[in-house]
């Protein structure tokens, strides 16, 4: 037994090496960059907090940060409002139909996100399909592309499947006898939903929120393509620092700030979940 265990633990070595090289090391480097001065080499460096100070003392950066969090929040809420009913509907279909629907939802993900976002440029552009439809409906020639609305649309479109799939999974795993028990105890379908289905699906909702909110905050190509440079988010700032300005240290510092904010937010969500469950184990 011991020998077998040893063999198994040896098998883990490549994974450990891989995760150190690909996850831990880059993270450590970013943290290192964020507290050192521009132009340092690995051999001689001086530690500084100037990048953090620069970020927090510049109102422009703070506005962009706020805007990023706000649009990610709106994206998450919209995904939740659309995603939950869709997931609920899917989980109540027959198994065959469920598979078909889940397949339909995952299918767009086979195509590169960038390509799909480019497609929206075509749809939203002047004389594009959307504008034509709107003018047919007599809603005038409103500017669609390069607005906050376009960015929000792009984000919801890209991240909605994550929300649906997460919630659908928890709903499908739920024991039908709990719903029968609820009906048996006198709860009509609406009461059963609020008292049994919804509370029990919270873990899936939290997972969905995490999977939508995190990439939405830091996404940079959706605002770049659909916001057309007029709508700048924190992801774009970081990208700029690295690629255009060349200030890797400042870019690293912003990345660290985002990472910390995310961690704090996720901890709050997790705490809320635990409280909601009254400290009971998830099933």
């Amino acid at each position: 037994m011991v020998i077998i265990m040893k063999k198994f633990s040896q098998m883990a070595i490549p994974y450990i090496v891989w995760s150190v090289l690909m996850l831990v090391l880059p993270m450590a480097l970013i943290a290192f960059y964020s507290i050192t001065q521009q132009g340092n080499s690995i051999i001689s460096f001086s530690i500084t907090l100037e990048h953090y100070i620069k970020f927090f003392t510049d109102a422009d950066f703070l506005i962009i940060l706020w805007r990023s969090l706000w649009i990610a929040f709106k994206t998450t809420i919209i995904c939740l409002l659309i995603g939950y009913p869709v997931a609920y509907y899917i989980s109540h279909c027959k198994e065959r139909m469920q598979n078909i629907l889940v397949f339909c939802i995952t299918m767009p993900m086979w195509i590169n996100m960038l390509v799909r976002t480019y497609a929206w440029i075509g749809l939203l552009s002047k004389d594009g399909l959307m504008q034509k439809l709107l003018s047919l409906l007599g809603l005038g020639n409103a500017e669609l592309l390069y607005t906050e609305g376009a960015v929000l649309l792009g984000m919801v479109y890209n991240f909605l499947p994550f929300m649906i799939l997460q919630i659908n999974t928890t709903l499908c795993k739920m024991d039908d006898s709990l719903l029968e028990a609820s009906a048996d105890l006198g709860a009509d379908p609406v009461q059963t939903f609020y008292r049994v289905t919804l509370p029990l699906s919270i873990p899936g909702v939290i997972n969905g929120i995490t999977l939508v909110f995190l990439p939405a905050v830091s996404s940079f190509f959706i605002p770049k393509l659909l916001g057309g440079g007029k709508y700048f988010l924190i992801g774009n700032v970081i990208e700029n620092q690295f690629i255009t300005v060349g200030e890797w240290n400042f870019g690293s510092a912003i990345s660290m700030i985002i990472a910390v904010i995310m961690m704090v937010l996720m901890m709050c969500v997790h705490k809320a979940e635990v409280r909601n469950n009254g400290g009971k184990g998830e099933t």
Partner: protein, 525 residues
Amino acid sequence: MKEKKLIEFRNIVKSFDGQIVLKGVNLDIYENEFVTLLGPSGCGKTTLLRILGGFIDADEGKIIFKGEEVNHIPPYRRELNTVFQKYALFPHLNVYENIAFGLKINKLSKDVIDQKVMKMLKLIGLEGFEGKNITLLSGGQQQRVAIARALVNEPKVLLLDEPLAALDLKLRKEMQYELKRIQQEVGITFIFVTHDQEEALTMSDKIVVMKNGEIQQVGTPQEIYNEPANRYVANFIGESNIIPGVMLKDYKVWFDDIAFECVDFGFKEKEPVDVVIRPEDIDIVSRENGKMTGEVLSVLFKGVHYEVMVETIPGTQVTVNMQVVKSHDVISADGKEKISATNFYVDLEDVKKLDDKEVVARSNAQAWNPETDDYISISKIEFDVKEEEGQYPVLFSTSGGTSIERTIFVVNQPFVSNEKANEAVMAFNFQTTVEEIKESLALDTDIKTWANAQAWKLSDESQSVDISAYYDFEPQSVTEGTYRITFSTTGRVFKIHTTDYIKEGQEVGLTFFPEDIHVMSKMVF
């Protein structure tokens, strides 16, 4: 207690995917009854309960509750509550919240809910557990919470779907008493589904025995046990000796070649029937005092009593010779092929049934490569057998040209018939080799095949009877020679429960009272 009808099932039919689960069930359930639906899995008992609960709809028929049809009333408006098989407690709520669920739905005031929940916790013996996490409770505790959650709503009827199935034996027994106590205390109708006959006998006022979607018998535990309606019920409830017999006239039944006094009447004259005698109703006495006599085959200690098997009619026997010969396989000139087969006997009547396949099987013919042990197919079988007694050659060859000649003995084999036991046995002499015996994985079965041993009912030749092979050689040290093999059927064996020890092999008499004989109609399948 003369009761009022509470629930009526009227001709309930239900099928799932074309498979009929309930075939027109009619059943009345009264107030304050503890009713058990008893049957093996798949008999439709849970389906019937779920139809009453409103979780599935019947295809046909009416469910009447307090005089009103409730077929189309959704489960949340029915005045009954269910204890589910796996409890179905809400994992996101604690003990108190689970029990209070139904009361909160009914918008009772906080202090009324408090009062009722506490009363329930007391009834189920879980005071002080109200804040406990459901998932941390033991199976028995979860069970009690599930019962409390249903009972707190003061339903007219409590439905219990195999609620004790998930508990261990000791806890199950405790909960049986507990459930009965709770039922008597709250005084409502319990409808309990189980496949456990002992559970049913212990708790019920009324048992409904079901099989294949039909009700077999409805009655009190005593009625079901003492007067089973048919062979199926007798077998399912308790242990029993079931013997085919004939009703000679009222109060007179004939079985095992003896006419007995009994208390049953109302059958047709000479009607074939099944007779049940419970193992505890038979007394073992001396040979001369017995209504029947027999030999004690086995005695098993069962704790409270001994289970004694007494053979009153010996099995039917036939003895044949087994000739064990040296293997004389034929090896091809190049040594690449080996072929073997044995002589065999065949009955005159079966000659016309002999084809290539049958000949290969009966002679145990096979060919193989001795180096690799791979089988080689026997491609040619030549034989010419006439429908007269005699010896006929048979030649087996492979496509490689290796061949072996053996003999088929056509004989007119008499069979042994036993009128008293209504059976006949037949077997043939046969030849085999030392290797075959040593290499056999299931020797008894092989011997039966080699000897073509068979037994059947005299009254119905298509009904075969089990036989066993008896021999007195050691398979692993067998040598060439001739051995006697006896094939025998089981005969009539009675199972008897007694507190007195009897020696195995002893000749004894069996006796019982006329009222211990229960005559049932033959089941129509």
